[in-house]
Amino acid sequence: MPDNAVSRPSLRSSVRSRGRKTAVVAPALVAVCAAVAAGCGTSTSPSAPQGDPNAPLEVWTRSQDSAAKVYTRIFEEFTKKTGQKVEYKAVFNDFDKQIQQRAANKDLPDLVITDTGSLGVFTQQGLVGEVDRASLAGAADVSERAWGNARTSDGKFHAVPWSTQATVTLIRKDWREKLGKPVPATHEQLLDLAKAFTSQDPDGNGQADTYGILAPATTDRGYTLWWASNFLWQGGGDVLKDSGNGKFQVAIDSPESQRSVEWIRGLFCDSKVMNPNALTLTTNDAHPLFETGKVGIYTTGPYMFSRFDKNLGKDKYEVIPAPRGPGGDTVLGEGEDMYIMAGSPNPAGQKKLVEFMLTPEVQQMGMKVQAGETPVVRLPVNKNVDVKTVLNDPRWDTTKQVYESAGRPFPAVPNFQPFRQKTSESLNKIFTCTTDTRAELGKLAGELTKELSTQGIKQ
């Protein structure tokens, strides 16, 4: 409505005077021509001609500013060494969604660095092709375990590993010592500590304004499962069970899974030790709650050390392997892959960049960062790079040990994303304390079975 009011008088006045008419028409026509040119420009040239060795490489990483600075250094080094130009863009919010938008336009970046979790989707949608390990220089230096992060369910490789990691547990050391609690080694001790953090005023401000465990458990991107998977596995449960020969069974409604989920639900509904906004919280909004002293226990990746050292203080928190549950101490151990995207005009450049990223020098560049920056290589994939000598930080040694002894990835189904999303939605519902766990898990199991059939991997 308001725009009519504006456009009417202005149009009338410009048409009324004959003398001024041509003067006004000319810019209007210029604008029209410009619009036509711009329109055609983008619609008729979907991509540069195939096989252009000079085309700049467009690289996307899923990272925030603190990591983007490190990547920028790395890509500048690459350009300096090879003369190959790189157009780098760091995307954090809605990364996967923006990739899908670019895919819909058939105009993908040349190289994408993001979670191993995207492997299934990208492969299934044909956004990445098969990677020939043997033809990549330096591929032999990459550990077999890291290559596992790039292997799809058919046993082939559709990405190149870039960094690996395991989640570790961060605890407010000053709070714990003040309350005289031990470093938790079991779920019982963890719960006990979380209860103390919630009820015994660990920050000593006289108010009940602290919480035990921090969870970014929104359903967005399937974070609920991402967070809950550690506790689920440690309780002996699982989402899917590998029955061999590339076939899977649903395991989310097994007695062990039910027990695990009940235990996690208890954190929300019985002991109430969780941060109260957990179920709509994204990871990005979760970090400040740990930094500012709202919550005392946070399971996250080692990439947060540098930020928390700066904003909270290195002496205020400690890094421990996950406390053991009845089913063990398994944690999520995944990482990030380099995805060589389809439809690039410069495949030779893509290969050159990937090989460059695997070299020990670049892996180290990604690990060693300045204060406040986020390391973009967590645990190196190159066997010849040693965390201990590069970083000399016992917390990183802990991470490495956890990764080697207890880290496991999500199951290698063709595409885990629908499983993660559906499981997240159900768990999120259960954690609101309004539904029956058993019934909800039963319903979820039905949906997951259907998805197994859709992907053709049902046992």
């Binding site: 409505m1 725009d3 009519n4 456009s7 009417r8 149009l11 009338r12 410009s14 048409v15 009324r16 008419k21 028409v25 209007a28 026509l29 604008a31 029209v32 619009a35 036509v36 329109g39 809605d94 996967d96 969604k97 899908q100 938008q101 895919a103 819909a104 336009n105 058939k106 989707v121 949608q125 044909g126 956004l127 108010q207 009940a208 304004d209 919480y211 929104t218 359903t219 967005d220 991107r221 399937g222 109260p276 906004n277 957990a278 179920l279 709509t280 994204t282 909004d285 389809a342 439809g343 994303q417 629908p418 999303q421 939605e425 999120n428 519902k429 954690f431 609101t432 309004t434 539904t435």
Partner: protein
């Protein structure tokens, strides 16, 4: 709506008046006449082109995609109406439709009631009122994403959260606000009302300014109370404004996305999922662009139908 009205105006103004004065039309004149009637189109062309490129072509593409299983790099597969059937079958969409209607209804009426009282409070000519009115209008122009983040902080569901602190002064709360299925939708609605009420206020203010003061004086002479004046004089005079507001708000309400996405992402437990967040999640989280397109087309049809019904109804009323 912009194109329709400006287009009609523009052709009427230069064409009609000048040809009448010029008298008989000869061949060169006709050409000039032609040129003249082209001018309005030249002015419209930039807008039309932009609309074509950014609205109509994407819309057509959306309709096409809704009939396919979309996989840009592997080739789309034609599936006919299957995507539409999938939308209708999906409980997520059914729940979302319900939440959308509830939210649209609550926000529309809430905004109108609050906007009406704001307008009554802030009607007048004084300079100070002008300032207050501008201040009150700020939520409308503030970026929704920013507003959402700030409200998330205000709503922090702990006894020390800002709003819970305020509630505790009057002995109420603490409330879980966005983080419990029972309170989440209402909390989102409140943010919507807070954001949209000032817009309604401005339109109602314009309506109030058009009411003849004599009607108030006459009714005061008849010995009416304030409430009676409001009911028998103000509200009937505002009827056209209210009709417009209702139409705009209802359509806007159905398309609600940003507030919900920023505040809750549709959670917890899907308690605030609305049609557009479900479309978004389906398209870009579950990578099912075909079904997402089908759902978008359905939303488009519903809003289109609503608009047509209201237009026809208004024409019929005006004709009477």
């Amino acid at each position: 709506m912009t194109i329709g009205i400006t287009g009609r105006e523009a052709t009427a103004v230069p064409g009609a008046t000048r040809s009448a004065r010029d008298g008989g039309i000869t061949a060169p004149r006709r050409r000039r006449h032609w040129g003249r009637s082209l001018i309005p189109w030249a002015f419209l062309a930039p807008a039309l082109l932009l609309f074509l490129y950014f609205k109509f072509i994407p819309m057509a593409e959306g309709i096409r995609l809704s009939l396919y299983k979309v996989q840009p790099f592997l080739g789309d597969i034609f599936v006919g109406m299957d995507n539409y059937a999938a939308v209708l079958d999906d409980t997520a969409f059914q729940e979302a439709a319900y939440h959308t209607v509830v939210l649209a209804f609550g926000q529309t009426f809430g905004s109108m009631v609050v906007g009406f009282f704001l307008a009554l409070l802030l009607e007048g000519q004084a300079k100070s009122l002008w300032f207050v009115r501008s201040a009150v209008f700020l939520p409308v122009v503030a970026a929704t994403a920013v507003v959402g983040e700030i409200w998330r902080v205000l709503y922090f569901p702990d006894p020390n959260g800002f709003l819970n602190e305020v509630l505790s002064w009057v002995g109420a709360g603490p409330s879980t606000f966005l983080d419990h299925p029972d309170t989440a939708l209402t909390s989102v609605m409140m943010v919507g009302i807070w954001k949209h009420a000032p817009y309604d206020m401005v339109l109602i203010l314009a309506g109030l300014a058009g009411i003849d003061r004599e009607q108030y004086e006459a009714s005061a002479l008849d010995g009416t109370t304030v409430f009676q004046r409001l009911w028998y004089v103000t509200l009937p005079a505002l009827r056209p404004v209210i009709t417009i507001l209702l139409t705009l708000a209802a359509i806007r309400g159905l398309r609600v996305f940003t507030e919900v996405y920023v505040l809750t992402g549709g959670g917890p437990a899907g308690a605030t999922s609305v049609w557009m967040t479900t479309v978004f999640s389906r398209g870009f989280e579950k990578n099912d662009i075909g079904v997402a397109s089908a759902a978008s087309v359905m939303l488009f049809l519903v809003t289109f139908l609503l608009t047509v019904i209201v237009q026809v109804w208004r024409r019929a009323r005006e004709a009477r």
